[in-house]
């Protein structure tokens, strides 16, 4: 293909050269006729020079031959014949051809040098930009992005970086898949068997696979699709990739990323273990708890116990305490779900007050010691949320209100519309919050110092509630005028309008 293209290009160049010669002839002949001059052969150097400079050697040679023939035809006797009779005509021919060769060679090498200079300049610019990015990078992620982009720019091919950290799979760009052989080679390099490898993916592309840092396997592996390159070029590209990565690896070391990655790995393993433990222990606790709570309710209904007030209240204690234990277990399970990021809302359209009523119904026994005042707007818009998650969050807030306010004090539960939001709030007249506490209450395991001795709790409730509400696109806002002045905790949820309305005809 390239061959045909080249021939085509030379042909086109030659035609243009001939046209230039013809044009020169036209001009010279017109001048010669009007001015009676019969000396014009030197003018034919012009098309030779032009062709040599712009079109290359062959068109220049064509121009030289044609020029000599033309000048012989018009300006040397015998006129109007291509016959080259005199030695100086032959000399002309040689001279023209030498000029053609020299000019085209000069032009060619100059073009090449310009090209090379431009390329070098771009590479320098890229490299400079790259080192600037490395210098300001504050996280491993930024460095990895910089490496990926820089190398992709350098080799003008696909570059995939397989992240640091154990077990983390490489993130492939959308719609891209790797051949099995490439995968194997990446795994081989990542596992530390060899620092660098080249592999043919079976479809004609050669991949260069290399550790980001020769010394430290934790920094991940980079895979570069080199396309179909001759073996000789691979070595050169590899050299350049090595240079780039040497800089990057130094920066990674410098950032102490190695240690951070190690820590993260260890932390995540500990975390996983802890959560697995919490999960299984919680399930194991649930079963006996179900028996205890069920048995307590049977006891309190049995005639023998029901007749004796002391026994009834004891059965009540068993029931209440096992319910509390059940809530704690539920919190542990929910906390595990939150920290594993397993909260995926299953949204549906719902009446906001249904959530409030359901939460209050679930906590009826718990709230028996308080006066619950309801302030629910009758015409709230529907909200599109996971009602079960939001209810769980609301239950946590109601629990807190009951827990941190004196027995018998009122708790006001409201559902209101506020602009484009529905606000579900719980106001108590209890312990309140200091400004400091207000900043900390959403933290996992946070418990107010003031309550440590008097009220039990895990410090998980509001943290879970917040995660559940956030997952539904809402937020929790707590406000308190100060210590012992009560607290209002509100769930703010955005609402939208259903896209379809039920068709209501006269018969509906």
């Amino acid at each position: 293909m390239a061959r045909f293209e080249r021939i085509g290009r030379e042909l086109r160049g030659s035609v243009i050269a001939l046209l230039m010669v013809a044009a020169t002839t036209g001009v010279v002949y017109a001048l010669a006729l009007s001015l009676e001059i019969r000396r014009g052969s030197a003018v034919y150097l012009l098309p030779v020079l032009l062709a040599g400079w712009h079109l290359g050697l062959i068109p220049a040679l064509v121009a030289a031959v044609a020029g000599v023939l033309m000048s012989g035809y018009f300006f040397f006797s015998p006129y109007y014949s291509f016959y080259i009779a005199r030695p100086n005509e032959f000399l002309h021919l040689v001279l023209f051809m030498v000029v053609a060769a020299v000019v085209s060679h000069l032009a060619n090498s100059m073009k090449q040098q310009t090209e090379l200079a431009r390329k070098r300049e771009k590479e320098m610019r890229d490299l400079y930009a790259f080192s600037r990015r490395l210098a300001v990078a504050s996280s491993a992620g930024e460095i990895y992005r910089a490496i990926e982009e820089h190398l992709a720019n350098l080799v003008q091919r696909k570059v995939v970086l397989f992240g640091a950290g154990a077990g983390e799979p490489g993130v492939l760009p959308e719609g891209m898949s790797l051949a099995a052989r490439v995968h194997d080679a990446i795994a081989h390099v990542r596992d530390g068997h060899i620092p660098v490898s080249t592999v043919d993916d079976g479809a004609g592309d050669v991949w260069l696979i290399r550790r980001v840092s020769e010394a430290n396997a934790d920094f991940g592996v980079i895979a570069i699709d080199l396309g179909s390159v001759p073996a000789a070029d691979i070595e050169e590209i590899r050299q350049r990739v090595d240079d780039v990565l040497a800089d990057a690896a130094a920066t990674l070391e410098h950032l102490d990323v190695a240690r951070a990655l190690d820590d993260a790995k260890m932390r995540s393993e500990t975390e996983l273990l802890r959560e697995a433990l919490i999960g299984s222990v919680s399930h194991e606790l649930r079963t006996p708890l179900s028996s205890i709570l069920g048995a307590a309710t049977v006891l309190s209904n049995s005639p023998a116990v029901a007749a004796d007030e002391r026994l009834t209240s004891l059965a009540g204690v068993v029931r209440d305490e096992s319910e509390r234990l059940n809530n704690d277990i539920q919190n542990l399970l929910d906390a595990t779900r939150v920290s594993r990021k397993q909260i995926t809302p299953n949204s549906e359209w719902i009446e906001p007050q249904d959530i409030v009523n359901s939460a209050l119904e679930r906590r009826r026994r718990h709230l028996a010691g308080h006066k619950v005042l309801l302030d629910l707007d009758s015409n709230l818009p529907l909200i599109y949320v996971d009602a079960v998650l939001v209810e769980q969050a609301f239950v946590q807030i109601v629990d807190n209100a009951a827990k941190y306010s004196p027995a018998g004090s009122p708790i006001t539960v409201a559902a209101k519309r506020n602009g484009s939001q529905v606000v579900l709030s719980v106001r108590d007249q209890g312990a309140g919050l200091s400004a400091l506490e207000n900043g900390q209450i959403y933290e996992r395991f946070f418990r107010g110092q003031r309550h440590a001795a008097t009220t039990s709790g895990s410090g998980l409730g509001l943290w879970i509630a917040q995660a559940f509400v956030n997952a539904n696109g809402g937020k929790i806002v707590a406000a308190s005028p100060g210590i012992d002045c009560g607290t209002t905790v509100a769930i703010h949820l955005p609402f939208a309008t259903p896209t379809t309305e039920p068709e209501v005809g006269p018969d509906d």
Partner: protein, 238 residues
């Protein structure tokens, strides 16, 4: 125990749970049979057809849902499922496969009995053709299609009445969104829960004393609706 006592079949692999269920059910006037596996339950149910089945989902030999499905091929016995929290989708699936209701572990005996009685009453109602359901001041005459509150006629649109009728037919038990949507609007609208919400709001405005705090038409979040059990307003003999 006399022959007239209704028979409850308790299916659970945990012995302690079976023990308290037996005690609670016997106190309530049931005779009790126990099975600790799915196969055992199916065998027992054919030998001595029960009047009520309490089915735990976590059985060692079979999936609880499969036990339910097998049982439903030849029996329409009232059946309550014992479920664990936070899996609404599973509850809906079981209700669609033929469970009458569910309770969430851990649960109190009173709650289980209320669900069980509601389910059993429904079967009695279907077999005797009892037309009128009374819940406190509300009376629904399913034969005459007349709804009254304190004797005063309530005017409902056809769809509102249909919604109330479906819930009344299952009074005391939960009815899933999907079932209601399919029965009222048809299969293409199974996901349009807001249709239900809008009609339920209208229905509550006509029936509830305070529509923001419904006492009769209750919402089961993530599952469906429940018309409160008639027993709560008009205690019926067990």
């Amino acid at each position: 125990m006399t022959e007239a006592n209704p028979l409850a079949l308790v299916v659970d692999d945990e012995q302690q749970i079976r023990r308290f269920l037996r005690a609670g059910l016997e106190l309530d006037g049931f005779a009790v049979e126990e099975a600790e596996s799915g196969q055992g339950a199916l065998r027992l149910a054919t030998l001595k057809p029960p009047d009520l089945v309490i089915l735990d989902l976590g059985l060692p030999d079979m999936d609880g849902g499969d036990v339910l499905e097998r049982l439903r091929t030849w029996s329409s016995v009232p059946l309550i499922v014992l479920s664990v929290r936070s899996n609404e989708a599973e509850k809906v699936r079981l209700l669609e496969r033929g469970a009458d209701d569910y309770v969430v572990k851990p649960f109190g005996m009173a709650e289980l009995l209320a669900r069980a009685h509601a389910a059993m009453r429904r079967y009695v109602r279907v077999s005797t053709g009892e037309p009128v359901i009374r819940i406190g001041p509300l009376s629904i005459d399913l034969a005459a299609r007349i709804v009254t509150i304190d004797g005063e006629r309530v005017m409902l649109t056809p769809k509102e009445y249909r919604l109330l009728q479906l819930l009344a037919q299952h009074a005391g038990n939960v009815v899933t969104h999907q079932f209601l949507l399919k029965e009222i609007w048809g299969s293409p609208h199974l996901q349009d829960t807001h249709y239900l919400r809008i009609f339920m709001r209208k229905l509550r405005q006509k029936i509830e004393a305070d529509p923001t705090q419904p006492r009769i038409l209750l919402t089961e979040l993530g599952i469906g609706y429940r018309l409160v059990a008639p027993e709560i307003a008009n205690p019926a003999p067990a």
